[in-house]
């Protein structure tokens, strides 16, 4: 109700709540001491491994750390175009 009213009057979300939500995300990274650069490296390495088995669209991949109740999860979203037949062989 309040939310709906706020929308009608074009009011923005209270800034305190915005602060809280931004903090939660930034702290997940701080606590895991994962910098954006490390995330880029991680993304690159995951892509390399996954590409051995699946045809994927690397540009559309994204990975992130997410708050999962009281633990942190690494969430990867990797669009797959097709399975490689039998996978490649790893030396």
């Amino acid at each position: 109700m309040l939310n709906a009213l706020m929308k009608i009057f074009g009011k923005k979300e209270p800034s305190g709540k915005v602060a809280r939500d931004r903090l939660k995300v930034v702290l997940i990274h701080d606590r895991a001491s994962v910098s954006p650069e490390v995330m880029e490296h991680l993304k690159h390495d995951i892509l390399e491994v996954v590409a051995k088995y699946l045809d994927i669209r690397p540009q559309e991949m994204n990975i992130s750390l997410a708050d999962d109740e009281d633990s942190v999860a690494l969430v990867a979203n990797i669009p797959v175009t097709s399975m490689r037949h039998g996978g490649k062989h790893i030396e």
């Binding site: 209270p14 800034s15 305190g16 709540k17 602060a19 809280r20 931004r22 903090l23 939660k24 930034v26 702290l27 701080d30 606590r31």
Partner: protein, 262 residues
Amino acid sequence: MSEIIVITSGKGGVGKTTTTANLGMGLAMRGKKVVLVDTDTGLRNLDLLLGLENRIMYDLIDVTQGRVPYKKALVRHKKQENLFLLPTSQVKDKTAVNPEELVKLCDELRQEFDFILIDCPAGIEQGFKTAIAAADCAIVVTMPEISAVRDADKIIGELGRADKENIKLVVNRIRPQMVEKGDMLDMDDINDILSIECIGQVPDDEMVVTSTNRGEPCITMEKSQAGQAYRNIVGRILGEKIPFMTFPKEGFFSRLKRVFNL
């Protein structure tokens, strides 16, 4: 049994020194023998907040480097005879004291004092590491503001890595009207995010500024809201169960005044 408490924050300017001065004064008013150790070498302020800036003869560095015994460097408060300050040097830098030296000094101070409060510098560098070395417990001061809470979280992590398990939170400079409007992180948000025990919620209060001007901590002022919040923290440190203050809602007229900028 004496207790060594370090007052720390990560982010600068959130109220560590103000908190140290007020809690020290408050504990002394409750009959405890208290010494405040300023470890913000090069940027000392605690002497000013206590109105003791003209009485300093020797400093922390003179003591840790063995030039004088600590008793010679202590400055007794003018009005509160249970309260002592061990000032630091305004000319040296943070490398002038190391953790071992401070631990050794605090062991000596334990013989004489009930409470040893250590005012920590901002940051997580050498000065911080020295300040926390001797502490039995830590009070982390923050403000209801995104960067201050983030830095508090970092400090809590650092304290954990240094095996300091007893950590309490003080949230300073709360503006109840902004919280009411949803324009400030509220206590539930902060408790939820930092998940350490909160022992103080101190409002933003002009009397902190005026009392700092006079060199008399606001805890001595009956009417100060921040002073009341600090008196409550002192009680909680002494083991009393005290509910958190509630702030009066802004009345219709004062809101009208504010809206019309009167």
